[in-house]
Symmetry: D2
Subunit: 384 residues, 4 copies
């Protein structure tokens, strides 16, 4: 049954910052929040333009007095209402993730925030510390880790079904920036707002997190090339690296948004001493497992061999595909369990605690930083 209602007798109250008209990710966050009925969206500051912000809230059906002109007004008002929001979800341009998250934590809200965590490593360190100090829940929406078969992969590695991890290939290939120009989201190409590296902030951090999530290993060193291949683009549109991981595994990292015609090609391969795994986001309901010396297998969500971490991430029976919204929702729903448990003073199911947190976000920013440093140092091997 619904664990939030079971613990609190009600759903969590969620306030949303950002995600107004024209946003791709705003509707995804709100859908993810509704998916498993663990949140009521009660308040919003959906746009940086006060009038648009209020109008957008009304269109969502929010009560008029909880449609705020801006994020700080929302935080101030909701923190004092008796029925105020429990949780704040932030889905604004990258440069405001840090101030809004810090302000929300300061006023006692649990926080769900879109990636990247911050625009600088220093901010990430500061935010990570703040989360730790407050004890509040912080969930960073590296949503690809929410796919059932990504969790199955993580669980299989943790269960030693792959043996010692030796080789990793992580790639994230898109085509959205194959033609010059700022595209639909102009702020992303402005380093002051989007961060130092467009491709790393947009998708590189996802790729890095997916790699860590499944293998349980940290990248220790890398040799990188980060730059731009599309004439007329100024922001980074590709990043490649060779990787060295804990325990001696080696890896290849390749992300780009300049691959004309490609949709959303996030793909992971992991080889250990006992076999290999392959997963691709565009066909998320298949996990290829190739055990050494036995026939290759196709694992499916809730199919035979499903481990508990994966099983709980599906809503329907084997053969009934779930997708990107459900994966995203798994982070919201797990965070809800963690938040409800914190509020109820209980211990959450450990399987609910696999959502990316402030530590993960900080490690991701360290990785971005090392990528850029290595690339600037002519590809020198660089500690993460």
């Amino acid at each position: 049954m619904n664990p939030v209602i079971a613990l609190l007798g009600r759903r969590l109250r969620l306030a949303v910052i950002g995600g107004g008209p024209g946003s791709f990710i705003g509707p995804v966050h709100r859908l993810a929040a509704r998916m498993d009925d663990r949140y009521d969206i009660v308040a919003g500051a959906l746009s940086s333009d006060p009038a648009r912000s209020i109008a957008a809230g009304a269109q969502l059906g929010l009560a008029a007095e909880r449609c705020y002109p801006d994020a700080m007004a929302l935080l101030a008002a909701e923190s004092t209402r008796p029925d105020g929001a429990d949780v704040v979800a932030i889905m604004t341009p990258n440069d405001s993730h840090f101030p809004f998250a810090m302000a929300a934590l300061a006023q006692g809200f649990d926080v769900i925030c879109d990636k990247p965590m911050t625009n600088s490593l220093a901010q990430a360190e500061q935010l990570r510390q703040r989360v730790q100090d407050t004890g509040l829940v912080y969930c960073l929406t590296h949503n690809y880790s929410g796919y059932p078969l990504v969790r199955q992969a993580r669980a299989m590695v943790a269960d030693d079904q792959l043996g010692e991890v030796r080789l990793v290939q992580i790639e994230y290939v898109q085509g959205g920036r194959a033609q010059p120009g700022p595209g639909r989201t102009a702020w992303k190409t402005d380093p002051a707002r989007g961060g130092d590296s467009l491709v790393m902030g947009d998708i590189g951090t996802h790729a890095h997190q997916l790699l860590r999530f499944v293998t349980g290993l940290e990248v220790t060193e890398l040799a990188a090339d980060v730059g731009c291949v599309v004439p007329g683009n100024s922001a980074h549109d590709f990043a490649g690296a060779l990787l060295r991981l804990q325990g001696g595994a080696r890896g290849s990292f390749w992300v780009t948004q300049a691959a004309a015609g490609v949709e959303n090609g996030l793909r992971l391969r992991v080889s250990g001493s006992k076999g290999s795994l392959e997963w691709a986001q565009e066909h998320p309901q298949v996990l290829h497992f190739k055990p050494l010396g036995a026939p290759a297998q196709l694992r499916t969500p809730r199919g035979p061999g499903t481990l508990p971490l994966a099983g709980r991430a599906s809503r329907v029976a084997a053969g009934h595909p779930e997708g990107f919204p459900e994966a995203f929702a798994n982070l919201y729903s797990d965070a809800a369990e963690a938040i409800a448990a914190r509020r109820a003073g209980t211990t959450p199911d450990p399987l609910a605690l696999h959502f990316p947190n402030a530590h993960d976000g900080w490690v991701g920013m360290r990785f971005v930083n090392a990528m850029i440093r290595s690339s600037e140092a002519n590809g020198a091997w660089t500690r993460v």
Copy 2:
């Protein structure tokens, strides 16, 4: 924006009948209702056991006074509350679809109902007439027609991109009944409750509706073999037929739940004079289009060439898979548009009116009936 809020200033109020503890489809219906924020679930009679019914409502977070002991109590009470439900969703065993739908219509509710429409053709005819007489909305959840690429296929056929349809292959292959025994849902194997043909009611009607939905053609005649291949099973576990369709197209129909190890293999192929389409539910985000004399294409949701009926059925950008819950939700959301328009006295977007309705349900029951008649007549060609 949310068309229901735009028209009515609020979400539709939904009451649910059935779908309590242990149900597979109940949570799917409720998730589908939440998906696009067009409904508030306000009341429920979730189980045929009064005590369990009330307890299950509480677990969903329903207000105590709207957790009803049974369906008829719900209908009576909600029809008189000033804030009573607008719509009733029925997800009970098959034999109660008819009485609950008739009762709901009689009290002025729009109705969403799980398939099959009824357990007999006579009931289906009666219900179809009642819907027509009342002018209320009736949505039958043949959910597979909600997939974006199924709608793309329908739109491509309607747009003459395939030319004249000549050949159809429809199959629905599952493995859930490969081992003898009643399985998880014992009522389904009881003809009095599940209907005359287990496999036809469970999945055959889905297959038939998918075929009609995409081709826009009716099956006119069939020669069928319906029976049981698993020793120890009494209910039908397979049904095959040769088909003749309007306009002279020929087809193959094959459904079974006895294919050990297979998950949920609903697959459609349509060939016309200009090319062929192939779609498979287990990989729903790919539509193969093989035009005569040109390279085969892979169509994706919101990818290039997407037609409006398909484009509106996706929530996220190309390359971000959606799945079974989203397809299911498309029926709920389209029905919501139709219901809101009816209540507001406006005309809905014609693209919202592609959900299966009472006519479709009746045609489906005619098909089941013809399958059984043909099989009993030693496979004689039989008019549908």
Copy 3:
């Protein structure tokens, strides 16, 4: 090592009848004969036109005196040369398969012949009897049974890895006749030359043989619809049937050459009490095995779990695809083993004896005959 050289100290001498300029299948036969170095092509009557026949032989590099004007001349001459052909391969239009095969047998040649075996059931019965009486080797090139993974499927069924077979789906979907007209091979649409049913002779017999080959079961009864869906075509371009097999299994049969845009879609699925197999000719190096209650597997040629009948059908290591020519060649090479053993007076490896023979050809003609009878009897269930 080369078993023919080992037994005979030389390759088999092969004479070819048919397959001259413009033929698709002629070069395939000759390539198949060369593939494993078990034959030398020493003589030919490649065309029904004497001058073209002799010219075509020269272009193949045959000795001038062994380029014959016609088949009967070839048989007469080669049967008397001291270094005359051992084996005759027939790849002419269907109506000559019977007389040429009978004549070749009469003069003591082993025979390899393209399908269908004959154009009438009576001829097939007569030929089958003649082969039996002579003790000569007769190989019918239902080449799809030569694929390594088709043999793996057969061996897995025989090894009881699927349990009792319950359900079969066999389909062969092509697009070559989607447009009206005789196409490249006009003789095929002439019943006097191509046989009673174009689609059944061309591909229906392949489908039927594949089904028998893998399951080891005979079709006992069928209910069929055979006809034409392309306006302007007179010859059959589709055939569908419901099947009943030995042991009670049920099946679906669907073959057509009118599916615009489809290349060569021969596909087989078999479900037994322990699991299901799926194989498709367009991706022949993958065999899907879905065991009941365990993860689905992808079997590959020479991959883990390969059984001996399949292992001997591959030439290269796992991961190195072989294709249609190699599958065709497997029949030639197995027939060579049988022929060499016969000539050497030894017993061949039983694994070499899985090529289709005269009995198989006769059963195939019985199947075609039953399809037509059932279709003419309005789909009545008909004994094969």
Copy 4:
């Protein structure tokens, strides 16, 4: 028709060096030579052990006097026979490629040689010069470039269907060295015989050649990591690199033989300004083409849109898969056309001249050399 017979009135006479009992690649070479009937294998020195060499020749059915005890004896004798070999094919361990090729060229033979061309860059330079000086044909069997769809990819790039090439991903992932030990071919792990880098010689040169072949671009600079991840292995079992290519394209290179359970995963992706291509050796009959702004396409051999360079590389109709042996044979057959034209004093079809030659082999050795130098220089960007 057979262009060799057309030009010379006979097949080419081929002598083989290496490829005796236990060899994987020897039978492949001989099969490739037979495939299109352009060669007669007339002589052999199949093993470095004289007695085994002679016995192996007999098992192939070679005339006794042309079964040689060693390569040098073969070259000496065949160069003086009136009916001596025209061409020598070398399929010995890597360290003998150079001396045998040099000796064969010195005696006027055209040469077909397995890769890598030599074991050192200096040898490669010397051999390349010798080929140029003699005017003889030298074909290096980078067989993957013989696949029809690899040639289609090359032709599409050359035809500007991809626009300016910007991004390349080349990977070759195998599992044969996932377990410690020398494996089946112990000489490969001995640097004196196998070369400086096992993985680069075995598969890295294939990957590099495939990249060059399709894009028509040279790698100008690389940053590499070459080493060993399997404990107990001494020879290189992985190599990764970041690439810079002519014209500014960037690339990722990843090859390994340590990916447990993986068969033969050679995969290429190329993105240009107009679209992207994807090809994988394990499914060689599909080329994914994703044009910018139009639906993704699946190209097939001889399917619609096939360009002449690809069309001539297939033997059978669309939908009839060919595989590894046919791709290998395409090199042999093209080389035969070049050799026959040279001998006949005519100009070969330019489309026959796309087989890898001595220049390609030398560039490949430069690439291997640069990989090792970069890796030893801590991943420094290194000119090729």
